[in-house]
Each structure stands twice: as C-alpha cells, then as structure tokens.
Symmetry: D3
Subunit: 300 residues, 6 copies
Amino acid sequence: MFYHNPRLQYPVRVETPNPVFAKMLQQAIGGIEGEIRVCLQSLFPAWGRPPSEVKYCDMLLHTGTDEISHIEMLCTAVALNLDGAPAELQDEGAKNPMVAAIMGGMDPRHYLSTGFNAMAADSNGVPFNGSWVVGSGNLVADMTANVMAESTGRLLATRLFHMTADPGMKDMLRVLSARDTRHLPQWRAVIEEQGGITGGLPIPGSFPDAEMFEAPHVEEMNLAYAFMGTGTADAPAPPEGRFTSGPSVDGKGTFSVIEQMQPLGEVPVRAEPPPYTFNQNMPDDRGPLKKASDAIQELL
Amino acid sequence: MFYHNPRLQYPVRVETPNPVFAKMLQQAIGGIEGEIRVCLQSLFPAWGRPPSEVKYCDMLLHTGTDEISHIEMLCTAVALNLDGAPAELQDEGAKNPMVAAIMGGMDPRHYLSTGFNAMAADSNGVPFNGSWVVGSGNLVADMTANVMAESTGRLLATRLFHMTADPGMKDMLRVLSARDTRHLPQWRAVIEEQGGITGGLPIPGSFPDAEMFEAPHVEEMNLAYAFMGTGTADAPAPPEGRFTSGPSVDGKGTFSVIEQMQPLGEVPVRAEPPPYTFNQNMPDDRGPLKKASDAIQELL
Amino acid sequence: MFYHNPRLQYPVRVETPNPVFAKMLQQAIGGIEGEIRVCLQSLFPAWGRPPSEVKYCDMLLHTGTDEISHIEMLCTAVALNLDGAPAELQDEGAKNPMVAAIMGGMDPRHYLSTGFNAMAADSNGVPFNGSWVVGSGNLVADMTANVMAESTGRLLATRLFHMTADPGMKDMLRVLSARDTRHLPQWRAVIEEQGGITGGLPIPGSFPDAEMFEAPHVEEMNLAYAFMGTGTADAPAPPEGRFTSGPSVDGKGTFSVIEQMQPLGEVPVRAEPPPYTFNQNMPDDRGPLKKASDAIQELL
Amino acid sequence: MFYHNPRLQYPVRVETPNPVFAKMLQQAIGGIEGEIRVCLQSLFPAWGRPPSEVKYCDMLLHTGTDEISHIEMLCTAVALNLDGAPAELQDEGAKNPMVAAIMGGMDPRHYLSTGFNAMAADSNGVPFNGSWVVGSGNLVADMTANVMAESTGRLLATRLFHMTADPGMKDMLRVLSARDTRHLPQWRAVIEEQGGITGGLPIPGSFPDAEMFEAPHVEEMNLAYAFMGTGTADAPAPPEGRFTSGPSVDGKGTFSVIEQMQPLGEVPVRAEPPPYTFNQNMPDDRGPLKKASDAIQELL
Amino acid sequence: MFYHNPRLQYPVRVETPNPVFAKMLQQAIGGIEGEIRVCLQSLFPAWGRPPSEVKYCDMLLHTGTDEISHIEMLCTAVALNLDGAPAELQDEGAKNPMVAAIMGGMDPRHYLSTGFNAMAADSNGVPFNGSWVVGSGNLVADMTANVMAESTGRLLATRLFHMTADPGMKDMLRVLSARDTRHLPQWRAVIEEQGGITGGLPIPGSFPDAEMFEAPHVEEMNLAYAFMGTGTADAPAPPEGRFTSGPSVDGKGTFSVIEQMQPLGEVPVRAEPPPYTFNQNMPDDRGPLKKASDAIQELL
Amino acid sequence: MFYHNPRLQYPVRVETPNPVFAKMLQQAIGGIEGEIRVCLQSLFPAWGRPPSEVKYCDMLLHTGTDEISHIEMLCTAVALNLDGAPAELQDEGAKNPMVAAIMGGMDPRHYLSTGFNAMAADSNGVPFNGSWVVGSGNLVADMTANVMAESTGRLLATRLFHMTADPGMKDMLRVLSARDTRHLPQWRAVIEEQGGITGGLPIPGSFPDAEMFEAPHVEEMNLAYAFMGTGTADAPAPPEGRFTSGPSVDGKGTFSVIEQMQPLGEVPVRAEPPPYTFNQNMPDDRGPLKKASDAIQELL
C-alpha cells in the first residue's frame, strides 16, 4: 500500500523559468529513458511472483517508490520552468530574437493541452508507452533491464545538466544523477548475488548447453561463442577485440571467429498459398473456392 | 552496403505446421524482445559516429547483419507454421476440440492481412515500435542496452523452445539461443575493454563525482550509494543484501542504508496560472484577457 | 514524496486461478478505463500549478496515491490468477475442451514476456498510452475527465465482477467498485464547490458569451444553444428531449432546434500549391523551381 | 447513410496565413481534445445498440454528423494558414527574426508529407489514436465521456482563440466554441433525463449497493463514501471541502474521512514460478524441464 | 457540410450472430486496410488545396462521404453479430466445444469496453492510427495510395466473405466488394487523365531527369532504370522478367541489370562526438566540459 | 542470408552540417514514406510464400536488400548533418537569429537520446510503426502497395532536395530519387506481367463478378461501376471526368453515375443489450443479473 507526504523528496527550485527546458525535461518524465518507465519497471516485478527470494520484491518496492518521488520532482520542475515564461515573452519577444526562438521551441501542448503543466510524454510530445516496461520474471534479465534503464537515464540527466545554467535545476539533476549512480551498482549487486557474470550468464541459466548442442553445427562451429563475420568476400576481415578470442566473459566457452559465415540452410521452399487466401489471381471458377469457404464456415 | 544470398543462414523446417505457434513466434520477430529491435539496435549505432574506436562500428555492422538473417529465419518459420493449417482444420476441426481451440488462438491477421505470412508485429498483433531502438551514442550504455535485449531475447527463445515438440523448430530455436549466448558475452567483453564494471560505471563516466557533491545533502547523506528506504514508519526495515553494505560494485563508494528517507524539500509553491491559460473560471471581464491575447498574437 | 507498506490496501485472494480472467483484469490495469490512467490523471495535475486553491492539489495527491495501491492489488490479482494454471492445463487440458479453450484465450505474453506476471497493457495486449492522461489545468474540466474515467472504470469493474465466481476476486472488485463509487461524487462535489452545473458551465467560464456573439449568426441563430439537425430533406425530424427545448442545463440560454442546418459558408477557395510542393506535375523546366529552392535554402 | 454539400457549414477565412498557427490547429483536429475524437465518439455509439431509447441514437447521429463538418472547417483552416506562407518567408525571412522563428516552429510534415494540407495528427505530429474513442455502451457513462471531451475541446478552442489576431480565425473559433457550449448542456440534459446526478449515479446504477457491502470492511468503514487519507503519519491531515463531509452528491451516502488508511491486506504470497517460466536460474538438469515442456507441447 | 439519413445505405442483416466474426469485421473498420482509413484518406485531400483541378476535390468528397456510410454498415454488422451471442453461449457453451472455442476467440473489449458494440480498432484490438491517412498533396501519388488502400481493402472483404456462411453478411460483403471494384478503376481513371502510366510517372513528374543525372554515376550506370543485384558473389544471378529488360513501363528509360552492385562510396568517416554528448568516457576533468556547457546555456 | 560491405553504396558527404536538415531527413528514415517501411515491405513478402512464381521472391530480396543500404546512407547523412553543429551555434548563435531559429528547430532527442546520431523515427520524433509494413500475400496488391510507397517516397526525396543547397546532400537525394524512379516501373512491370491493369484488376481477380451480382441491387444499379453521388438535394451534380463515363479502366464494366444515392437499407434495429452489459440502469434487483453472471462464470 502507498502513502505520500506533500513535501518533495528533494528541493526543486527554478531561478529563471525556461519553457524550452521544460520541454527538454519531458524526456526524463515520459521518454523511454525516463522515470515513469523506471518506476513501473521496478514496481511491476515487485508486484509479481518472487523471482527467487522475497527480499528482491522488497528491494524493488523501495526503489520503485523512490522513483515516484522523482516523477513528482520532474513534473514540479516542468511547471516551474513554465512559470511566467509567456510574460517574459510579452515584454521581450518582439525585440529579442533568442526569446523568439525559444518560443518556437516550446512544446505547444504545454499551453494548448495542460495550461503550463507537465505531460506523460517525451520531449517531442510522443506519449509514454507501456511497452517500455520490461519485467520478464527472470531476476537476472530484469536486473540487466534496470541497468540499461539507469544507464541511459543517467546519460540523459547529464545531458540535461549541461543544457541549463539554472542553479536549482543543476542541483536537482545532480541529485537525480546521484540516485542513478546508486541504483546502477545496486542492480549489478543483485546479479553478483545471483552468481555474477560468470554464474549468471547466459540468461536463463536453466537452458542447458547440451540442449543447444543437439542442433547440427552448433558445437562443431562453436556457434555459441564464435563471432560471425557477415562481410562480403572483398570486405575487410572482422575486427579484433576482447570479443573475438580468449575465454568468453561468461567463463563457459572460448571466443572464436568465423571469418565469413556461409549459409547452412537452403532456399526455403514454402507451400503455395491455399485458394482461400486469394493470394493468387485464379480463374473465375467458384467450385473449389466455394468448397474451401464452406469448410471454413463450418468451423467458425 | 548490404548483400544477400537466397539460402538461409540455418535450415528452417517445420514437420507439423501449427498456426498458434506461428502467432507465438511473432513475439520473436516484432515484439520488444524480438529480432527487429536487436537488429536495428546494432545497425543504428553502427551507422552513427564512432563511440570511441571505429572497430566497434565494424563489430556492430557484422552482428546487426547477422540479425537480419535471424528475422528471415523467423519469418520463414511463421510461413511454414501456417502452411496447410486450415486444411487440417477442415478435416478435423469440427470433431477435435483441441484443433478448434488452436483455431481460436490463431492471429486473425495472419489470414486477413497477410495471406499466411509473417507480420512486423508481436504475438498480440501489436506493431513493432521504433521507440524500442535504443542507441544513446555512449558505447557502454549501448552495450548494456544490448545485454538487456539479448537477455530477454534468449529467455523468449527458451520459452518458445518449450512450447514446441517440432524437431525443426527446436533446432532453429537452439541455434538462435546459441547466437544469443554468443552475443551476450560479446557485449560484456566490450564493457570490459572499456574499463569493466569498475572503470566503466557509472555511465557516463565523464560526469564527475565532484559535480554531484555540489548539491546539498548528496555527500553527507551518501545519496550516491545509499539504499533509500521508502517504507512507512510501521513497515519492516529495508531488506539486506549485497546491495546494502560493503563497497559498491563500481568500486567507487560504499553502500549504506537510509532506513526511512525524510523529505528534504518543501511543499512546492507554484505561481498561479496566468489568465490566458483559462485554468481558472474568471469573471466575465474581457479587459485583461484581451490584453494578454493581444500580446501573444503580436509575438506569433 | 512517496512511501509504501508491503502489506496490501485490501486483501487479494484467488481460490481458483484462471489465466483468461488474468487477461481480462489487464483491462483494469493498462486499459483506457484502467487504474494507471486514473492514477496518473490524479497525480499529474496534483504536481502542477494550483488550479484555484491548493487544497485541490492535496485532494488529488491523496486520491492519486490511493490509486497506486489499486494498481498493486490488480497486478497481484493477475499474478495469482496465473498461479499454477498451466499445471491444471497439463492435467486436464487434453481431455477438457473448456480448459483448452481457456488456454487459447490466455494472453501469450503472460507466458512469453513476463513469466506469469502482470503487464502495463490492456486485455488485448495493447500497451498503456500516456496520451490518455488528461490534465488540462482547468479544475472543472479536469474534474469532468475524472468523472468520466471513474464512470467507465466502475462499469468495467462491474463487468469483470460478473465474469468471475471466485469469492476473492468478487471481494476485490466489490471494494474497487466502492472506491469508484466514492470518487465519482467526490469529483462532482468539487464541481459543486466551483459553482455547480449552472455556475461552472460552460468550460472555461472565462470565455464570455459576448465574445461568441461577435461572430455573425451565432446570436441570431442561437448557435450556442440550438440543437443542429443534420438530417437530409427526406429524413425524419430531429428527436425531441430535454436537450431540445426549455432552459439550457447551464441556466444560461434556451434550448432550441434548427430542423435542418443550411451551409453558411461557401465552397472553400484555396490557393494553388506553390511549385516547390511538387503537388502538380509541372513541365520539365528547372527555372522557377530552382529559384524557389534557392530561396528556401537561403532561409534554412 | 451520409451526404455532403460542398459548401462549408460556416465560413472559414484567413486574412494573414500563419504556418505556426496551422500547426496549433492540428491539436483541434487530431489531438485527444480534437474533433475526430468527438465525431467518432458520437457516431460509434449511434451505430451501436440503443442504450435505452432509440432517440439517443438519433441525437448522436445528428451531432456526430455536425462534427464531421467541424473537422472539414478546421482542415480548411489549416490549408488556408499554410497558403503562401513560404513565399512570405522568402521575402522577409532572412531579415525578420520573428518570421524565422515561425519557420522553425512549423510542422515539418506540413511540407514534407502533405504539401501544405492538414494531417490526422495533433500539434506535435503525433497521429490520431482510435483508443481515444470511448463508447462504453452505458448511456450515462458515455454522456460523461462526451461532457469531458467537450470541456477540454472548448478549453482548447479558447486557448487557440487567444493565440490569433486573425479576424477570420477568431470567428471560426467563436462558432466552434458556441457549438461546444451547446453540446455540453446537451449531454448533461440526457443525464438529467436518465435520473440526474442523484438518480444516474453511480454508474452503472444496476450494480447494487448491497453487492458492495458483501465485501468485508466496505460498510463498516464506509468505503463507498469515505475520503481515504494516504498521507504519512507526519503529513498534514487531509484537506476539507464539500467532498469530505455532508451528504454525498449522489444522495446515496454520507461523506466521511479516514484520516490515514491502514492496510487491510497482508504482504501477498504468490506461488513460485513453475520451472518452464525460466524465471529462476535452475541447475542444468533437463529432467523436470523436459517433462514440463512435453506437457505444454501436448496441449498446443 | 455533412448530412445523414438514419436509414442505412445498404441493408445489413445477420441471421446467425457470431461474436468471432464480429472481431474479424473490426479489421475492416479500424485496421490499416479498413474503412476509417479509406474514408479519411479521401476526405483530408478533399479538404486541402486543389491538386490540379477543383473537380478532384469534388470527386473525393463524394467518395469519402460514401465511405462514412460503409463504416456505419460495418459497425452495425459488428453490433448485430454480438447480438444474443452470450445467450447462445449460456445454452450450449458448456456442452459444445466449438462454441467454447468461439468464446475464447471473441475480442474481450467487445464486452468489457463497449457493451457489445464496435470499436475504432482492428481485429487484434490495436487502435486505428492516424498515420495511415496518406495525403501527399500530389494528385497522382494520392491516387496510387487510394489504389493500394482499395486493393488491400477488397482483398480483406473477400477473405471475410469466405469466413461466413451468413446470407446477410455475404450480401453486405458483396456490396462492399462491388464498391471497391468501382473505386479502384476510378482512381486509375484519374491517373489516366493526368497522363497515364507513361505521362504520370515517375512521381512527381516535375523533378526532371536532368537533375538526377547531375549526380555522378547515375547516367552512366543507368541507376534510374537498372535492376540492382544485391546477391553475393556465389549467389544465383538476379531473376529475369519484364522488370529487367526492354523499355521501362514509364516509357522514359530502358530497363537493365547490374548483376552485382559494387559500393561506390567509402567507409564513412564521421567526426568524433563533441564532449558534451558524453558519448565517450572522459577523464574526470571539468574544464572543457564546463566550457561547452556554458556555451550551450548562453544560447538556450 | 545477409552480408555487408563497410563501404557505402553511394558516397554520402555533407559540406555544411545542418541539424534542422538532419531532423527533416528523419522523415525519409522512420516516416511512413521512409526507407525502413519500403525495406521491410519488400523483405517480409520475400520471406513469405511465393505469391505465384519464386522469381518474385528473388526480385523482392534483391530490392529489399538495396533498401537497407539506403537506410544506411540516410543515417550516415543524419550523423554528418549533426557534426559540429553545436560548435557553430556556440560561435554564432547569440548573434545570428537565423542560427538561433535553427537550434529551436532541431530534434531535441538528437542530442538527449542519441548523442547526435539518427533515430528510428520520423521528422516529428514519432517512432517508426510496424503497422505500415503492408504485405497482403496477393502479388498485385503488394505491388500497388510498393508503387504507393515509392511514389510518396520519391515525392519526399524531391521536397528534401529542394530544402538543401548542400552539394553532397543534393547528390545523395538525386541517387535516392533515381532508385525510386527505377523501382516504380519495376513494380508496375510485375503488374503488367500479371495481366496488367485490365487483367489484374480488380484485386483479387479470383472473386468473381457473378458472386457480387448475387446481392440485390448490385447488378441493376451497376454498383460495381457507378460513381455514387452523395451530395444533398441542393448540392451541385457530381463532377464529370474519365471516371464517370465510358468503359471502366479495368475493361470489365461501364462507368455510370448515380446522381444522388438513396438509402437501400432501413434504420437498423438492434437487440437491446442483455442485462449483464450494464448498458442500462436497471432497478436494484439482483435476481436476473445474478442468473446471467452465474451462466457466464460457468462458461469461463
């Protein structure tokens, strides 16, 4: 069950409201790198079955609740950046080309749809999309999803930080960045508890190697650890790096290189489409079609 | 520049076509865990500016091209699983409840929209969405995005593997699983080359800790490494684990716990909305509104 | 700032897990009538500028927080309905056609994407969409948006209630229904405080009638209160009801009827497209086009 | 069946074309507050089963047809606002910074995709989405959906009105505003005919109170009419208003306040995920997994 | 301006209601091949600037209005197919596996969201999307868009026709098919009026060949009319057909074949990302970053 | 199977980077008229069942692979147009209003989300959508879909061409335009091989005319070839053109005109909604409702 305190988790203040920066902040609210995603991506698995131990549900509940407070801070920041902005425009807009450019860069829906409040959308006005909430049920997979979300989230916070000179906005972004800094090793610590890179990979660990090796060519060509070159005959050789030789990072195989992969399959042979697909232009003969359609109708 | 060979990278065969399994396979084509995403998520960064060394663009080009061949294999598998299925239905449907259930579970657009071919959509018919293609420009962040995509991708392949008894489908999924097994440590190997978990975290590495510490409370409360308890006063204490004490996984701080975080901010005070938002029901006085609207119009 | 208690707001129990009902419940989580929408639609305005008095932000914060607990309950219910279901299928599926039908009706992503947990999507697997979160900034408009969301939400809860015989699910839906019962008059009470139907309508109240009357025909044809018949000459007359005669419900006009509206405008005359739209197939003359494109390029 | 007259319902003229205003008008065409939504939201229920009396289908048909004419007017207005604009830019753009700002604020797809015509999208270019068309089948619920759509629609028209000084655009928006003024009490008049706020609420009226009271705590805690405080122990008390005491607005209960709601449920206990979810990293043992997957395959 | 007659354009009757067929019909309403798209795709250009002669706007208005009547017919058909269906289920469902399968295949939102009416969505419940409404402004391009929409629309009608044995549904689909039969040559007749395949292609005709030939290699390699082989060295030669030799269908060039296209470009060289992208992990030096961020802030 | 060569198919160079033009180019990558759509629209049918002869799968594979190279070129062009742009802004932005306007017109996600690389989105940042990939299975229908995609694609390339003065960009767009010039008659050549406009229309050819004529009125009113006037009684007569008289373009009928179509159907009569829809406000009687809900529950 959830509770709130009307005070903010961290002070949000804006000295110089800037409606273009309000638009930029939307990316951190409703963008794929934003806080609604991170929040729901913690809470949905927390509300699901325990991935292995109940304590991970607890952990996700704590952090997911923390993220609601971040959405609150960012929405507050959007509203504050929209404060009084049009007034400034009235005074200076006609004279100052930069102010005019800012007005051109404002999200029109911040006026038309919300009356100068935040929206559940990104910096282009594209709405938040629930498909971004990844919760696979597998703890290690979900921790990698969180690592990814925090990484791009902190990168976004950093870029936003460098777009603003407002001391209040800089402090808020410093703190959001600090929290991402915290969460990232938190998710990795769970991976470590689950066996680490060596023990925890590949995901899911319960799909045994022997199963993969039953398919022809997998073992003999080292398909589970070979870098597959897809360059043409006259293209340079594949690049070399930690990913092309030596033991695999998961400690379970040896990296190798297939300079140029050759097709193992044939040109696929697919059955002709049945008449009732109408994929082919057939003679005007109602016999076979009628029979097919009768059969479908009987079933439906 | 891209080339093709009409033969498949790996043989795709289906002994017993199953239109419900065709629907399930769509998740691996156009779902968020699917191959179109993984493919474009490799190619778009490969077509961008070199994240640090050109060899990573090369690596991504090779692997992204590999993934096109996987989409091809899966689309072929969908078409083969739709082969002849309705014919079977015609013979058995009315008698066999299981076959009838299968027909109920088929994607209707596999008949209505494609004439028994694959679609760029997931297992519920929800179209592929370009927002899933994450390419942040930061190499380590993008590698974590790939680790995440391969993790959920391999998990999906495993679940699909356990839904089918068809030997051809099992072989194809074994190979796709082997390739995911390969790619996952490949992306981690790059992270290792870039400094590993210790050196490569947090992302971006170029946002210095000192910058975070400039915001009040960050250093003193260890906000960059403290687990933040958000339970109410009468809730149990936060869980304990590798993520609550000891050195942080990124080697740069020490994990601690804030048992119950207290609000550091105040109740936010926001300016009243200006009259031209019409957020408030105002007296029927055209004076101030007219003045505001004149000013806006002058600017636009 | 937000807090949680790991206990649920209200007990959620499922005696007979049913994966088809899990799919149905998704509509109440991630559908347009669902709780994510209602929750964000309370919180976003609460995080915006005070619509007229701060107490309304407070009210919205309390109720929006209440709704997070409802999402939690519903996600828990989805997980519980997916508990053990496949095991039952293993035992009975091949024999019992109804169980087989249920399996056909399960959301495939409940297995493929979440490992038997809830998703941020509706009962067809269509993801939650942030565009549904309406917060116009105008208090009365936003209260009508909430009235609408609660109305369709309670209707959905009622329909779900009648699809299940499970006593635990029935209790949960009774309580969700009771809360919707509460919220609906709550939002209307605010409208009453703001002047009620008579004082609060139309929205926004600050757009004066006199302004409307400045446009030709508006006053003389009573366009602000006339029911506009759009039937053809040979169609029946418009229907009669409370909405066609008598004082308008907002107490500001008199309902009338225009039996068949006639066009007041003319066939629109629009300028021909300029050459650089390439809307028209022009002669192969590079002169004028080149001039136009030079001009555009100079500007860009 | 539908008919048209090539003349417009109301004159649309633009004295000073303005491509930024064309972009703004898109919100009123393809935005969630726009006319495509309102139109389809009237027509879809009109084409469905009679909610209680056939006259309401008739009413919706008349008004829905009226709205098609509004889309036509707005699309005409977009085209007229795009007339000749680039020519003006050619003359003045390089000298006048405000004109240059306007060009930066134009929707690029108005040139690239439509050759200076309207689109089925909002002011950010986000496409119209069919999910916005709410038609629940319940007359009172659908009337509240219409009240909401008209409220935000009229608010949008008002904001647009205050962004333009063009006399033709002002007249068109005055008329659209007048029509919304009409429709709003029209939908409320239907609610009145259906029993009004007292008789028509809650929705659906056919879900009896007694049913709600069967769930534990509902009656004793007045869960159907209590304002639920979700503040933490140290937060201020819930706000007071018409919504916290006195008879409920629906005349069926008494408003009360639960100062701070306590969890009535327990920490949810969910079954462990079955092995074939691969949620857990299991030992490399093919026995149980194979058995599970065999069982699934038999069913599919 | 638009009008309606409450009678249907063509009789819609359903002898045997079938809720699965109701779901299938949704594809023809809100799917990409459906009538909402075709309708708006006629009306939006009709409401735009005249592509060359006003009569084409007239033509599009007539046909677009015709399509509204088709949406009405299909929505009526959905409602009729949902009539009484559950009653039948009550009688037979528990005994008849086929009826049970049908229930499994029904769209859940037809009950949960609409109370047995149609939705603005496709057969998988995916909402109609405004991006499908193509109106480029160029008459010939828009006619090809219509040809495409009618082609897939008639194909869909044909497939639906073969899924139903209901005489009423068959008649309705015969008529919809007849109308598509009409519209298809109608759009092609316009292309003929505009110069036909020879004169009207390529689109836009106003981009002169000479312009293309200014780019290196275009003329010498016949890039405007050569079939470009993209097979690898060991792949079979490109296929032969009308599209590989002889005069081009547009009468403006000669088809040829490039057996295997060779790259004309080099490996792209892109500038390193500037420091303020944080694409690279930089040393912890705040100097250059600060300078960059200062510069950005000055501008914003 | 797919291969690549790291060299580009055609040189991409940018002399004067322009971030606004980078945004415009996104339309050609991830817009509905863009190359991702064209690419997948060739490859998905190529990976499906042979529409009539295998050579068409081959043809589509060659051309679809060609299109991947175009996406690569355009993404490279976006990255190059974003090169160094902000540096220029730093120098000139504060002084030069035009540069400031450009900055206002840049896609914010090109900085915030990708670090100056391309995205899988259109020029408004709306993500690519898999629903645009049309592959109906019917060869002639799919060729018309391709004709449409190339037409709007070439129109887009032409418009982009006229927005830039950069010689490198002009060359790239000349070549893309040349390729579209090629593909358009290519798809039409296939239509010609399949019987041409006369033989190939209507689509699908296998739905016989006689079938249409079985529905009342179709033959007698020439519904398959009559232009249907939908104007009101006082509206002008339908326009005249090639599409209103003479032999139909498909050679199978004769164009005629129905001056004003009259409704052939009646006002639809639909059954009342059953009680368990809760569409109607019923008396507070639990008897019939309970019976209905028991019946539903038994089935589920």
